[in-house]
């Protein structure tokens, strides 16, 4: 009774703050008239899968430790308890086998989500992803659809060394018949995963382990059950006039941090979050380059034949080339297998200072 009274007292005040912990560990802030939820990327992915599992009974999840362990990175926490053995399936350590099984199930009318514990392990199954999933609609002249999602963490983590740190954006982004998305924040994660699950085609969702625990504000619209982000559309996260920074996944955050530092020196960066690797939204990049005349791509993966290399080629081939005042610069991971020691690992992927340095270089400062 007294707690109710004190709550009422609180509510009569101007700005109010109430914390509500749900079983998804959301934090609910009401500031003035705005309602924003702090949602971690992990929870965003979890909610997206939960909602899609509920919406369509053909959707199911399979992968290592996804069920009773709640997911190796806890992304599928609570799902097995809610949906049971039929729809959340723990597999043996058999990537090629279970990826093939997932593709076959998709061919026969289900809508599987196939989790790779990390995309490094997807190499064992890559034939099923490319030859069985990606190419089939074309080979069958549209007779055989493959509505499947391959998802899991991609790219560098922390201290997991060479065999567990590869970025597969370029490899999967190379292949026709696949769609490849790479979310950065929670809204991206929610919207892109939902779109991927609803898509009738094979979609590779490249998540990032280091982002799983990061919380972002998500709007009410972003929390609605039918919120999807279109595959193939990039987002301008921060407008600017002096230089365009294009990135995907975790590096988007680095770009925004670099932009904040540079803003103090009067340099306004336009930061574009690709969101989708394939199909690449070249138009958004071109429109930005026309405005800023300078382009820098930032990625965690290796430089050769990478996402940045593709962007350079496309910009050169298109109308934006004539608006460039300097060659496009690629900021990438170092061209080596990922080392273990922290000092070495830290110097193997782009840091904020690398982005700042490149911006100043391209602006001749």
């Amino acid at each position: 009774m007294s707690s109710l009274f004190s709550s009422l007292k609180m509510m009569t005040k101007g700005a109010m703050r109430c914390v509500l912990i749900t079983n998804h560990l959301k934090f609910f802030e009401t500031i003035g008239n705005f309602q924003l939820l702090q949602v971690t990327v992990r929870d965003a992915l979890n909610q997206a899968m939960d909602e899609e599992l509920e919406r369509d009974e053909r959707v199911f999840l399979l992968g290592e430790e996804v069920a009773q362990y709640d997911g190796a990175y806890k992304v599928s926490r609570g799902l097995w308890k809610k949906y049971g053995d039929k729809r959340i399936i723990d597999t043996p350590i058999s990537e090629m086998g279970f990826a093939g099984i997932a593709v076959g199930a998709a061919m026969a009318g289900l809508r599987p989500i196939c989790e790779f514990m990390t995309f490094n392990f997807s190499m064992q199954a890559i034939d099923q992803v490319i030859n069985s999933a990606a190419k089939t609609c074309y080979m069958s002249a549209g007779l055989q659809a493959v509505p499947i999602v391959f998802r899991g963490p991609n790219g560098a983590s922390a201290g997991v060394a060479a065999q567990h740190s590869q970025c597969f954006a370029a490899w999967y982004g190379h292949c026709p018949g696949l769609k490849v998305v790479s979310p950065w924040n929670s809204e991206d994660a929610r919207g892109l995963l939902k779109s991927a699950i609803r898509d009738d085609n094979p979609v590779v969702v490249l998540e990032n382990e280091l982002m799983y625990g990061v919380a972002f504000e998500v709007s009410e619209q972003g929390l609605s059950k039918d919120f999807t982000i279109p595959i193939g559309k990039a987002k301008v996260e921060r407008p600017g006039n002096h230089v365009t920074l294009v990135s995907h996944s975790r590096m988007v955050g680095h770009c925004l941090d670099a932009a904040a530092v540079l803003a103090k020196e009067g340099i306004e960066c336009e930061v574009i979050n690709l969101r989708t690797i394939r199909p690449l939204d070249v138009e958004t990049i071109e429109a930005s380059v026309v405005k800023t005349n300078h382009l820098i791509t930032v990625e965690g993966g290796w430089p050769q034949f990478g996402v940045g290399a593709e962007i350079c080629a496309r910009i050169m081939e298109g109308p934006a080339f004539n608006y460039l005042d300097a060659p496009v610069i690629r900021v990438t991971g170092v061209d080596i297998p990922m080392p273990y020691a922290k000092i070495l690992e830290d110097n193997s992927t782009p840091q904020i200072k690398d982005i700042i340095f490149s911006v100043k270089k391209t602006l001749n400062m």
């Binding site: 086998g97 099984i101 998709a106 061919m107």
Partner: protein, 378 residues
């Protein structure tokens, strides 16, 4: 009208003189982890016999016609022919329903036929025309039909796919099963053992069928496999070794296997001992790793079509004329189809980029140079 009269005479004979059905002894299957196997006798009705005969002949003639067209360079690329193995495809189909599912590797023309494809569509796909079953986009190894998932070019990849189809069958609860075929060569693929494990763990309604034609391309089974008992290699999965040249043996074994799956017992393996007359593909004469004598011996002693024909004639289930007439009809059907396959136009260039995706708004596809912007519709 003489022909019409003859037809009337023949059909009048049909009802009066022929044995409507007969029981045949068939070879006992070798068993692995099974208490009992399929029956050692099979009942064949006249209708069934005629239908099997016709289908096997169509299959045989179709493959021989493909051989001809390949030598004339009208069919290009890969062409893996099925002649000799007809009893497998036709026998399997006789043991399941069209509502069941089937997937195989690249030696797929026979299965495309039994699963509902027409000879015209199959041949036109081989010649790469727009009337092909995959509109000319797929070719020999990528033909599809309802509940038939190809036609798969990567050796062994179709096995996990088939188990996935079986998972969907179980998930959807429609009492359907999936027949999942692979060869003696593919039987050594790791992903097949991964699949055995999961199919068994999850009790998937999957009939794994190894078509053992003794050679994986040019490598005999003895040189490729430490154990050539392919029906046992599923270890914890029960298995049958079946005479794959006898259509009745194949049919009864398939029925037995289907019952096993449908009763919820999980997967089962069938090894069909069969033989291909052609080499591995049209680029392989097929005589560098086996003798002409061996091929000839199988042809004369174990040909599946001859075996069925002899059974029917010896038991007065059909007449020589009747079967000859079927042969004539089959020949005509194949000629017709070949004619279509060689005269139908190739796919239009506008189709080049279509069908990349399913259910997708039109998109632009980069051509061979930056100025070529092609359109893709789904």
């Amino acid at each position: 009208w003489v022909e019409l009269l003859l037809r009337v005479v023949v059909s009048a004979r049909t009802y009066a003189d022929f044995t409507p059905q007969a029981t045949f002894d068939i070879k006992k299957c070798d068993l692995h982890k099974l208490e009992e196997g399929p029956p050692v006798q099979a009942v064949l009705t006249r209708e069934e016999g005629l239908q099997y005969y016709r289908t096997m002949q169509i299959m045989r003639r179709m493959e021989l016609k493909a051989d001809q067209l390949y030598k004339q360079k009208i069919i290009r690329g890969f062409c893996h022919l099925y002649d000799g193995q007809e009893a497998c495809a036709v026998g399997i189909e006789a043991g399941i329903n069209l509502t069941d599912h089937l997937i195989t590797a690249y030696r797929a023309h026979g299965y495309t036929l039994t699963r509902g494809g027409t000879v015209r569509e199959i041949m036109a796909e081989l010649t790469g025309r727009r009337g092909g079953i995959a509109k000319g986009k797929g070719g020999s190894m990528h033909m599809y039909a309802k509940n038939f998932y190809g036609g798969n070019g990567i050796v062994g990849a179709q096995v996990p796919l088939g188990a996935g189809v079986a998972l969907a069958c179980k998930y959807q609860g429609k009492n359907e099963l999936c027949v999942c075929l692979y060869g003696d060569g593919a039987a050594n693929q790791g992903q097949i053992f991964e699949t055995y494990n999961m199919a068994s763990l999850w009790k998937l309604p999957c009939i794994f069928i190894c078509e053992n034609n003794r050679y994986g391309m040019g490598t005999s089974v003895e040189r490729a496999a430490a154990s050539t008992d392919y029906y046992k290699r599923g270890d914890f999965i029960p298995g049958l070794r079946v005479d794959g040249m006898d259509i009745l043996c194949v049919r009864e074994a398939t029925k037995f296997a289907a019952d096993h799956c449908r009763s919820g017992k999980g997967p089962i393996i069938m090894e069909l001992q069969t033989y291909r007359y052609h080499g591995h593909s049209m680029s392989d004469p097929g005589i560098s790793y086996r003798t002409r004598e061996e091929i000839q011996e199988v042809r004369s002693k174990s040909d599946p079509i001859s075996m069925l024909k002899d059974r029917m004639l010896n038991n007065n289930m059909a007449s020589v004329e009747e079967l000859k007439e079927i042969d004539v009809e089959v020949r005509k059907e194949i000629e017709d189809a070949a004619q279509f396959a060689t005269t139908d136009p190739e796919p239009p260039l506008e189709d080049l980029c279509n069908h990349i995706f399913h259910n997708e708004p039109p998109l632009e596809v980069r051509g061979t140079n930056p100025w070529v912007k092609l359109k893709s519709v789904s």
